[in-house]
Symmetry: C2
Subunit: 241 residues, 2 copies
Amino acid sequence: MKNHVSPPSLSATIADAIRSDIVDGRLLVGDRLPSETELADQHGVSRATVREALKRLAAQSLIRTERGAFGGAFVNHLSYEEARAQQVTTSTLLLGMNAIGFQVACEARYALERSCTSLAAERRTDALLDAMRKEIEIQSAPGLTDEAFCASDVAFHRALVDCAGNEVLSYHLAGSVEAMQPLMNMITFTARSRAEIIDLHRSIVADLEKRDAVSVDRALAKLEAYTITLGQSVLKARATR
Amino acid sequence: MKNHVSPPSLSATIADAIRSDIVDGRLLVGDRLPSETELADQHGVSRATVREALKRLAAQSLIRTERGAFGGAFVNHLSYEEARAQQVTTSTLLLGMNAIGFQVACEARYALERSCTSLAAERRTDALLDAMRKEIEIQSAPGLTDEAFCASDVAFHRALVDCAGNEVLSYHLAGSVEAMQPLMNMITFTARSRAEIIDLHRSIVADLEKRDAVSVDRALAKLEAYTITLGQSVLKARATR
DNA sequence: GATTTTTCATTTGTCAGACATTTAATTGTC
DNA sequence: GACAATTAAATGTCTGACAAATGAAAAATC
């Protein structure tokens, strides 16, 4: 029988130790870690092992390294962009690898997105409304590929989320919206279905302008229902193929 | 002036190449990567460099490695647990490192949590309601430390989120709820404020039992307002100290 | 012939030492 | 004082080696 619980390697152990130093605040943003040689001495391992540990942390954007004299590994300031990129990667993989039902993923995504409607109606800016209108223009263009349509759809919804004027909210929602893109890309959008979606997008923008949160919410509910319908028809077509 | 845009290292480049192989589906879950020696030959680098690249991917749970003959690096099946753990780490760091206003973080957290009230009211199970009651018991215990109170609070809200019966939703919300814990830990809960919170928890459970989504939502709104009040008083006390 | 034991090849984990490259501070020169 | 050369410290990479784990095949045993 396979054990499958292999003892953590030295590099993993060291990485965990440094990680908790950072997470628990013993190392602060901008602090410099000891040099690789010093870390190797401290932990009684070779420099190669320390380097593997540091690469693990770098992969999580916990540290950044600089070369040269007075270079080294520094506790990284995690920007919204980096955090979002990581979250999107993780969420996308989770959806892709776990055979999540399209309906379940869709339900979650729209539930989350609807959580920002009242704030968005309250705080929407003209700049963001314009951005949304621009995306609607793109979506209306004839000859647009399905993938480009999806990409613009994501951009539209990201702008909608940004209307809530809360960076933390935008960060969380970016993960759920963008992670859906691969699933959405499986759908073929007919001219008919595109028109339907664009109509809903138009009404969302209009309702936001009027600061009518209830109507925005209703439109999103319709969009969810319609998207699930589209997804199911695709799955049905697959099954009978 | 510092350049700050250092060219990506070889190990980072190789990691990116393999990562896109996985993300774009050229490597599937369970597939075995070539051995480190083979990868080194393929990319024309040393084994040490390949290993650093693989450790980066392992840190993101994209691959897992097994020792021994017929061992190697395998494309990992990303479980909900692993994904959630990563998301919580990222979110916690983001909140901790970016001097997010307590109010902004709180607003985002409750907006997201309220997105699951209608599903939760519809699908709540007796088992989860019992779990929530159990946490209320814990929270009512005299002599409980603030940290233990917070931990139980997180457990309560996780159960609430799980009531929605949507794994994807639970995954996303876990990040926003758990990442708040360090911020919540800064708050000192008086007996008075604990009683207030526990009352709201009780009414949430009662409303869920009655499948009364509107009342749950109202209680969460109150909880949000009260939490923000508590947070602000802490900040004020800090400022005048 | 079936079962157990041993051997063996493969692969990751770790180490030691070396050299290349980058970078900021120092020193030297005019 | 300004500019150029030197130097020291640090990461990035390579090489070669050995240890440890592990499954498969071969050998020994019954």
